[in-house]
Amino acid sequence: MAEKEDLVEIVGSEGVSDAPEILAEYSKDKSFVPPIEPRCVVKPKTTEEVQRIIKWANDTLTPLIPVSSGSPRFRGDTVPTAGGAAVLDLSGMKKILWIDRRNRVAMIEPGVTFGELRPEVEKEGLRLLMPLLPRRSKSVLASALEREPIIMPRYHWDIGDPMLCTEVVFGTGDLFRTGAAAGPGTLEEQRKSGQAQKNPAGPSQASLHRVIQGSQGTMGCVTWITLKTQLLPKLQKPFLVGSHRLDSLTELSHWLIRLRIADECLMLNNSNLAAIMAKKWPEEYRRLRDNLPSWILFFCQAGYEYFPEERLAYEEEYMSDIAQRIGVSPVEVLSGVSAYELLAILQAPSEEPYWKLRHKGSCHDIFFLTGRDRLPELIEVMHNLASRYSYPVADMGIYIQPVVQGTSWHCEFNLFFDPDDLKEVETVRTLSVDAVNALMTEGAFFSRPYGPWADIAYRRDGETTAALRKVKGIFDPNNIMNPGKLCF
């Protein structure tokens, strides 16, 4: 293949593969997106190589599918939608470029995983703003680009957090740095003046990092990001709160976030918490699930450098008063689950096997954003639909995460299923499409529309679709970057 030679010239022969077994791996993922095989997989090591590849793709009109995380992948965004695509696998770009304690920032390449980054930042007294138990092969950069919610909502100031600045090669092949990283000057010159590539906004009158985030690689290819990090606490005190009433827990969450007295703060239903905690399957999972209340709030209070005990003391007092007012009881151990044990689990990526795969081997997630008041109704919609499709409601995992400091709520349904059971596969597949339709009709906002959700989401908002196509026309006029995704 002539084009393969072009690519070999850019990345070297070890960086290009068209072996069938390799192509098969990238042709599908765990979603229901139909598999399409790419024509090759190319693995650059530097930004310059990425730029050359993208220019080549423009010249040859070859679709490019950027991928940063290792398998298994789940969302369908890295499966080609058209034939003849080249997968641009950046997972080999694994440099942790910079960690700066003073400014609480890390700069990383796409291939760096949570497991790799975490110990490095901890050496500097920092910790990561993590999503919920990412899989081991998950790219930190990809997670940030996808706007995955983090489990410490008090530090989630903006939906883009923890991502800050980026270096990106747009679909045109142009190199750009967003935010303060744009300049003037090189990164070293900027650091000399005291900068740390932190301010994500700009440069000047546009914030292009925002059109890159959430774009599923359709605008360009990001070659590094800076990432907000948080201090490692000196003291931590985690709690579990169980209730059959979700609104009691969301009310407590609201105050924990509003008064800034908890770091980690998330809700799981019994099925999800059991899936996370269980070591023996299926007995322990079932026992935990059946003993746990319907809903569990997990939160952790912390003290830092200055008088951590005193900080914890007044924060715990506030928390107790509020909990008492609401009528719930935060405890250290709930139905045999230890808050400390859960805290340790949540501070790291998921152990293998990936927690969502432990129950039945596969999982399909449906997630959206909503306001607090809508949560019970939307959950009921999902429950009703599940029942209609004979999906066992008791098996369904639910994860509720307050985001952007509690101004909206990420609601996630985890549909566990056996990928070898065709009936279950079909049930989950059809249920998920109907569910997305029904939830959207009831006011769920699918801010991150993967696969078939995109059509449904964009049909509801024609003006946004038109505007996004204009943006696409600017940054990827030849539509070579992951074509067919979103509304492109």
Partner: protein
Amino acid sequence: MALESKVYRALEDIVGPENISQEPAILDTYAFQMGTKAVPTRLWMARPEAAILPGSVEEVQAMVKVCNRYGVRFKAISTGFSTAANIARTGSIHVDLRRMNRILELNERDMYAVVEPYVSWVQLQAETMKKGLNCNTPECGGQCSVLANCTSGWGMGNKSVAMGHNERNVLGVEWVLPTGEILRLGSVGSGAGWFCGDGPGPSLRGIMRGFLGAWGGLGVVTKVGVKLYHWPGPPDFFPLKGVSPIYDAEIPPTVKNYYCFFTNWEDFANAGLKVGEAEIAAEFAKVSPALVALMVSRSNQEYSQVYRFTKTLVKGPGFQVIIEADSPKEFEYKEKVLMQILAETNGKNLPLVTHELMQSRVISQTVKCSAIARGVFRATGAYSSTMGSMDTWDLGVTQARIGADLKQKYVDMGMLLDDGVENGWGLLYEDGNFGHLEMINLYDPADPESCQVFQDSLSEATDIMVSECLGVPFGGGGDRMNEFLGPHIMNYHLWLRKIKKAFDPNVASDPSSYIRLKE
């Protein structure tokens, strides 16, 4: 070039005769702006062809369509407190959004509000405080437009240490594009409410504005959802006694203001970062003895006496911190931490500011953001900012030092206020994750020589921002600036131009403060 009568009639049909005018006396009040030109006769920017007052998004849309049809340019203005609000050349109409002034939603449970363009910060704050919430009032003042500040302008204030930058406080948006479509960002566009301004997929908030807003160069934003934050104080603010210009507030013992100062920049910088990381400040700003003296004095005469006092007491850079707490225990903790930080960094707390009267005045002005005019306008009549880029607190310190060096000669010439020269106003954002600093230059707009210095210092400062790699300055937007800075900053101006072309092919939205298309 006067507006053709058929165009005027078409616009009049939309808003009614009372809400449109071509009267020069009205138009000139949209042409005037402080800090424009070097001589008094040129205090004026371009006079618009007409001023129009739409009352709804439908009227805005209709007006935009008429403008596109007839090739007339328009520029939105709300409180309009900056040269960025004006037009640079004739040929545009001003769209004054004053009639669109409602608070549409105040959602206490999800902590956000939805407002129209002419809701001012002080109005929003008065309503949010009733519900135990507060908003990120910027230092341009509580009288300024919430929407303009968040979606189209700047977005920084003393509360930013705990409430961030207003570019990041935006949720749902309703926006009339330059071509007349109504674009609703995020959850609004999907009919799900105002809680999110991003998606589906990429966020068009990034097109709407950057570190700086588009300043009317990309259509008209007509509604915005903004984040709110906790307010531990009384629902109707602190009880006030007294008569203008001195209001003494009854400040509860769980709220207190400090002016901490240091003998060197290193200690100052370290202390600032520690305060941010410790998460103890409700309000924070780098201040100077001159700025503090301006805020607490009732007149320039009084300032000259107070300043003699503050500048003797304060030798070195300093910052103001306000601690707010829900309980005595929380307050004691936070104060203890602050004192510990000062001990570690050889910092001192100015006793003048701990006096009860000073406490009440400074706190009430700062919380309500009422002191801008006192702080930067009363002394000489006007001010300008040099530097002003945002990244880290350390960058702020660098800008303070460079900005002061640059300013020294102008102060020595007597053309700027001698405010100690180093009169940088700087902020922390989001617990110290970001920082910025502007060097305040106080000049007299009625004095041609002082005006000239204002121009020269801005020009020199912009050059230095490039040569010293300090980032995009506070006044770094607008066509001329983008042309100058762009080549040094990833040619961002070319992308901006593409955005302008894509979204405003007819150049209906006045580009003066954004970017012009090139032939």
